[in-house]
Amino acid sequence: MTKLFAVLVLAGAANAAMAADVVGNASAARSKIEMCIGCHAIPGYKATFPEVFQVPKLGGQNAKYIESALKAYQKGDRKHPSMKGIAVSLSDQDIADIAAYYASQK
């Protein structure tokens, strides 16, 4: 039991280390933004739920903020059905790449 616990702790530590090591690569995001551009690349595009509002401008936004927003959708801290659906399909690396991509736009 102690051994199992130790293994789990180590695994947890390895996970944390991996999370810290994820570095966003904007050029790797090209193939990953297909799901984003259908709304976020269309000027004036509006979401209709739960309010009617223009979806946010992402270009030039802070990469760390985009990451934390996507992770909040993933985790359920942000409860937006369509964004949650998209966020849960992304890996940590996908999220870092997409965040770097949008942050680099001018």
Partner: protein, 113 residues
């Protein structure tokens, strides 16, 4: 009839102002609630990279985000310990005014493919 027309005109003018939010009132509210302390004095340079730039962001999105923080853990809410406390005192009109003010600021955010 004339009176009614005038009354209707006034009503529609004041409604338009309400729907759009008031930039001056929003500036005062942003100062009152010290939004710039975290989001940066020009709202383009947050003090921490995990906080969003707000200047020039879409007005209606900003409203939606603030309302979502108010809904907190409820349906379609946003659960954020910092923003939860800050949005608590805001009326719907306050939210519209703040959103109008932040949207009016010169920003660097863009919509690109």
């Amino acid at each position: 009839m004339k009176k009614l027309t005038v009354a209707l005109m006034f009503a529609s003018v004041s409604m338009a102002a309400t729907a759009g939010g008031n930039v001056t009132a929003g500036k005062a509210l942003a100062e009152k609630y010290a939004c710039a302390t975290c989001h940066g004095k020009d709202f383009n340079s947050p003090i921490d990279p995990s906080y969003p730039k707000l200047a020039g962001q879409h007005r209606d999105y900003l409203e939606h985000a603030l309302v979502a923080y108010k809904r907190a853990d409820g349906a379609n809410g946003r659960n954020n310990p910092i923003m939860a406390g800050l949005v608590k005192p805001l009326s719907n009109q306050d939210i519209k005014d703040i959103a109008a003010y932040l949207h009016s600021l010169p920003g660097t955010l863009v919509v690109r493919r």
